[in-house]
């Protein structure tokens, strides 16, 4: 048996070593995808446990409130910090952004490799929660004083945030420099894919805001383990300041997730509808950058019930409502892109289309939460829980799945579409509606978030049904999602090896990742010829009349 050799005649490195030591942005993207999907799987399992526990009144499965808090912690932290953000800005940006701008790699490939391994270390650290006897039980928010006084291991949370934050900062720096300096010759700013714009915007937000979260949790660590009192009011600290610092990053983090998800939708919809992006410049400069501009001045709506001067509440109500304007502009552009289009309805497009429903529902249900007088009633109820799942978690996860189906032929040379894909889409779509609609209804009636039981509501009826009935429906929905996700995962794995072979550009896209690269793209992305575009080139050059 001969030893594989490289073209230079050296012995080829074993496959595992090539992956571990890779600096290729595409492989790093795949590593992010694998890691984020693994985190999604475990976080999803936690969600099933949470839902199963709430299915009936009383104790079902969980033995203590602390244990329940532990599941909530992992679900929230893993979904946001280890699945959505790395899935969208790690996987999608790493794999496709350099291809879209005609770059052979990113500006700092080694730093890129370092950041993916920081991400994996963070996941390992988070997974330690299942091994250590005193797992973190502080949600993904880590609010003091509980995070300081709890016997649980807050340091795991803090170090996970540090690693993910550092990884994100490195990624942000890398991709911003890449887009600014490594675009293909001739490619102007108004010729970029919307996904590139949204990713740049997301990285700007990460770069500016994430160090604030890192600083906030570091001081939390000091309070818990070094005996400082940064957040202890009895000794001169300010407990509410933590919440302000936390949400100063964590609300913009919603847009770190939301924006790349919207970018993916634009690219899919333009391609599948064979239309130019409707109102491209408005979407970019007013929509995307409008969100970035306002993202940093809306965080206080998370703290409306914490006590503050009315004018601050009023100001943040205005800014929170105002951010619906750029979001609305992006939504109009998405609908406009489909208008009179020759739409191909494949799995990617079905996921993308369902996002239009999710963004509408999530957006509209957010309006009451922007208004202080209504938030006083709805705050900390499962209404909020349902709202942010629709607008952030479900919208972005569906957009990411749309992206995976859309780019699957590029990554593997094979289609992932088929019966299993269609079945899993409908299972997921039906499941999310069954899970979260009931939570809106009982949340409006006062069902608290984060409670493991609801004995106090056992006699309350909403439209003739008890809270328990609604929880039962939600739990059935969650298990339907689980069936959909398992089917989808099997489909991805099967299709990657045995799927129907796809041509290089199966969707007839005009974007560089489809027109100028093989499937999957080789080292250097574009073979021996550098990509050059002319001033009339556009990634959405479909109907040029």
């Amino acid at each position: 048996m001969s030893t594989p050799t490289t073209t230079a005649g050296h012995a080829a490195a074993p496959a595992w070593k090539e992956w571990v030591l890779t600096t290729d942005h595409k492989r790093i993207g795949v590593l992010y995808l694998v890691g984020s999907m693994a985190a999604f799987g475990v976080a999803g399992l936690m969600a099933l446990i949470i839902r199963y526990e709430q299915m009936e009144l009383g104790m079902q499965f969980i033995e203590s409130g602390t244990e329940y808090n532990g599941y909530l912690y992992f679900h929230g932290a893993a979904m946001i910090l280890a699945f959505l953000i790395p899935g969208l800005t790690g996987f999608a940006a790493n794999y496709f952004l350099p291809l879209m701008i005609g770059a052979r790699d990113v500006a700092f490939p080694r730093i890129n490799a370092f950041s993916v391994w920081l991400f994996f270390f963070a996941i390992i650290l988070a997974l330690l929660s299942f091994i250590v006897p005193d797992a973190p039980d502080i949600m993904w928010t880590g609010y003091p004083p509980y995070a300081v006084t709890t016997a649980a291991n807050t340091s795991l949370y803090v170090f996970t945030v540090h690693l993910l934050g550092f990884s994100s900062i490195l990624g942000a720096v890398n991709f911003l420099v890449t887009v600014i300096y490594m675009r293909a010759p001739g490619m102007g700013w108004n010729q970029l894919n919307v996904f590139v714009w949204t990713t740049v915007a997301a990285f700007v937000i990460q770069l500016v805001f994430i160090p604030v979260l890192a600083a906030a949790v570091t001081l939390l660590l000091f309070d818990k383990y070094l005996g400082t009192h940064f957040y202890d009011p009895s000794a001169g600290g300010d407990v509410l300041l933590y919440q302000n610092l936390f949400w100063f990053y964590s609300h913009p983090a919603v847009y770190v997730i939301f924006l790349p998800a919207v970018g993916i939708l634009f690219d899919i919809m333009a391609t599948m509808a064979k239309n130019r992006v409707f109102n491209y410049k408005v979407a970019i400069y007013a929509g995307i950058w409008g969100i970035v501009g306002i993202a940093g001045i809306v965080w206080v709506h998370h703290l409306y019930i914490a006590g503050m001067p009315d004018w601050i509440r009023l100001g943040h109500m205005v800014t929170t409502l105002l951010i619906s304007v750029p979001v609305g502009l992006l939504t109009i552009s998405l609908w406009g892109t489909l208008y009179k289009g020759a739409i191909t309805y494949n799995t990617a497009m079905m996921y993308a289309a369902s996002c239009l429903y999710l963004i509408l529902l999530g957006g509209l249900t957010g309006i009451p939460l922007a208004i202080p007088s209504m938030t006083l009633h709805l705050s900390e109820t499962s209404y909020v829980h349902a709202h942010f799942h629709f607008i952030m978690a479900l919208f972005s996860a569906f957009a990411l799945f749309a992206g995976i189906y859309y780019w699957f032929p590029k990554m593997t040379g094979r289609f992932a579409d088929g019966g299993m894909a269609t079945f899993s889409f409908w299972a997921n779509f039906v499941g999310v509606n069954l899970t979260f609609w009931p939570l809106f209804i009982i949340g409006k009636e006062g069902m608290p978030r984060r409670y493991w039981d609801y004995e106090m509501f056992k006699d309350v009826q909403v439209m003739g049904y008890s809270f328990e009935d609604y929880h039962l429906i939600a739990t059935i929905g969650a298990f339907i999602i689980a069936i959909g996700m398992i089917t989808q995962t099997i489909n991805f794995i099967y299709s990657a090896f045995k799927g129907k072979p796809a041509p290089t550009n199966p969707w007839n896209s005009r974007s560089l990742e489809w027109t100028h690269t093989a499937s999957p793209p080789g080292p250097g992305n574009f073979g021996g010829t550098d990509v050059v575009v002319d001033e009339n080139w556009s990634p959405y050059e479909y109907n040029t009349k």
Partner: protein
């Protein structure tokens, strides 16, 4: 500063003089105090946000009746003392007087009112006059600071209890034991902050007034308001201290941006190096 020293010297002298009878009584041995020290503090956890009875009737030094609510509508510094006190009351009020004179940015009478009420049912117009004379207040302060007694003696205890102000009469010492507190009420009459005499500085008074304003400020106050956000109240020390997490958070804002700037410089230098080679 000189005034604070004078006040401290007065307290020291009063304590020294008080020690002579104690020396005679206890023969040099230090007596073990059985006074619960918590009486000198207001339990802020319990009483911050408590609303005082605005309709309580008071009588000022001119014998005119008014309701507490007449002094509200803007922040109110409330001092509970008694006018026949020959101990700490004059020190407490003199300390406040000294601090208000050194105050900048907020003006008594314009931005807030000051009200001293006696919780001693025996106080009357005459004792108010003697007490005020003893304080030697400036004319401007005189106009914005009201000294009063309760009209209805039955209202004294419920009123003081409502904001956690505890006191008791010691027959042995022939004095009231009570906190030396400056209580800052919001324009609606809710307890917003408590500072203690001889433990606070004009800066603390100003920040407490901002706290009591509950976020309302004039456009000209915007710098002062922004500065006030840099401080947080330290319950252990009873004064305001710089909010370090805020500075750390704001400082952290520059971390990402500066790392981006360094990366751009590094990338450009590397690109130039490649071109030159």
């Amino acid at each position: 500063m000189i005034r604070i020293r004078t006040l401290l010297a007065s307290v020291f002298t009063a304590c020294t003089l008080a020690a002579f009878p104690a020396q005679a009584q206890y023969g040099g041995a230090v007596p073990v105090s059985d006074i619960d020290p918590t009486i000198f503090h207001i339990d802020e956890k319990k009483h911050l946000g408590a609303k005082v009875a605005g309709d309580v009737k008071l009588i000022d030094g001119l014998g005119q009746e008014f309701a507490l609510s007449d002094k509200l509508g803007k922040p109110l510094i409330l001092v509970l003392s008694y006018y026949s006190c020959d101990g700490s009351c004059s020190v407490i009020n003199q300390d406040l007087n000294a601090q208000l004179e050194d105050l900048t940015g907020v003006t008594p009478g314009e931005d807030f009112n000051v009200l001293t009420i006696s919780f001693d049912e025996h106080d009357d117009l005459a004792s108010i006059g003697v007490f005020k004379q003893h304080l030697q207040m400036t004319e401007s302060m005189n106009g914005s600071w009201t000294f009063a007694t309760f009209k209805d003696k039955e209202q004294i205890k419920p009123f003081t209890d409502s904001i956690g102000f505890n006191y008791f009469w010691s027959p042995q010492d022939r004095t009231f034991f009570h906190p030396g507190a400056f209580m800052f009420l919001t324009p609606e009459g809710r307890l917003a902050r408590v500072l203690y005499a001889l433990n606070s500085a004009p800066k603390d008074i100003k920040l407490a007034v901002f706290d009591a304003k509950a976020g309302a400020f004039k456009p000209t106050d915007i710098v002062d308001y922004a500065i006030s956000l840099c401080y947080s109240y330290n319950y252990a020390e009873g004064k305001y201290t710089l909010s370090i997490p805020l500075f750390v958070g704001v400082g952290a804002l520059s971390l990402g941006v500066s790392s981006f700037a360094v990366s751009v410089l590094f990338f450009r230098r590397r690109s130039r190096g490649r071109l030159n080679s």
